[in-house]
């Protein structure tokens, strides 16, 4: 089976390189190394959000899985922190001049641009779940819709 899962009991920022390494080596073992850049970027932004916002940097349960479903590479992240819907963060104005430029929301914006689909769900028992999909063959392995 293609699916592989990594679980951390108390994920903190120091764990991010390890999380990314897990995803990148999974991709490389399947000959999908050309998707490393968009996926590691999306996973970095998503994991940083969980650790910083859902857990407030204090550490907490974190699970990431990599899978292939049809033509999609599917990365799922689960945590049991505060509900945090990336869709609730307003989209940044990436055309604003320096004076009016705000940095908030940029991580989520980049994450969405790197993937073809990002879905979020929350339930009291399972906590937060983020599912990100990258369709293989889209935009030559780089960014979608460009």
């Amino acid at each position: 089976m293609a699916k592989q899962i990594m679980t951390l009991e108390t994920a903190v920022l120091d764990d991010i390189p390890r999380i990314i390494e897990f995803v990148v080596s999974w991709l490389e073992r399947r000959g999908l190394g050309k998707y490393s850049f968009p996926l590691e970027t999306a996973v970095d932004e998503a994991s940083t959000n969980v650790i910083k916002h859902a857990y407030g940097g204090k550490g907490g349960f974190f699970e990431i899985s990599c899978d292939i479903q049809g033509k999609d590479i599917v990365i799922s992240i689960k945590d049991r922190g505060k509900p945090f819907d990336p869709g609730s963060v307003p989209q940044p104005d990436v055309n604003a001049d320096l004076e009016n430029r705000k940095i908030g929301g940029l991580g989520i914006y980049i994450m969405k641009k790197m993937m073809d689909e990002v879905k979020y769900s929350f339930d009291v028992k399972q906590g937060n779940r983020l599912e990100m999909r990258k369709t293989m063959g889209s935009a030559g392995g780089s960014l979608p819709n460009r």
């Binding site: 991010i16 970095d44 604003a96 320096l98 940095i103 940029l106 914006y109 980049i110």
Partner: protein
């Protein structure tokens, strides 16, 4: 993440090597703060060795650019790798920064 520096006149040329992510961003911000506080507001960042940047890294670049521009300085970027460029393009940072092919061109643009 590694940051090395040298001076060329009143321009500080700094080389960034490694990954600029949430983990390393605070350290880089501190180092750049120290450069600005020492009175140097003209900087060239050589990004030849920068392999990766996340939004945390972009945040540092943006906040430092705001600081130096307020003091009639600038942060010029050189030798950006294609992946880094792509993140800059997505974030709309390409039009905020002066970006150069190489370190000399960036450095010369201060005097030219």
């Amino acid at each position: 993440m590694d940051l090395t520096g040298k001076k060329s006149g009143d321009v500080n040329i700094l080389g960034l090597t490694g990954r600029l992510d949430a983990y390393s961003a605070a350290e880089v911000e501190k180092k750049l703060d120290a450069v600005i506080e020492s009175g140097c507001v003209k900087m060239v960042l050589n990004l030849e060795g920068l392999e990766y940047i996340s939004s945390s890294g972009l945040r540092v670049f943006l906040s430092q650019l705001k600081k130096v521009r307020k003091q009639q300085g600038d942060i010029k970027l050189a030798c950006m790798k294609p992946n880094i460029r792509e993140v800059f393009d997505i974030a709309g940072f390409t039009q905020l920064f002066n970006i150069f092919e190489n370190e000399d061109a960036a450095n010369n643009s201060f005097t030219g």
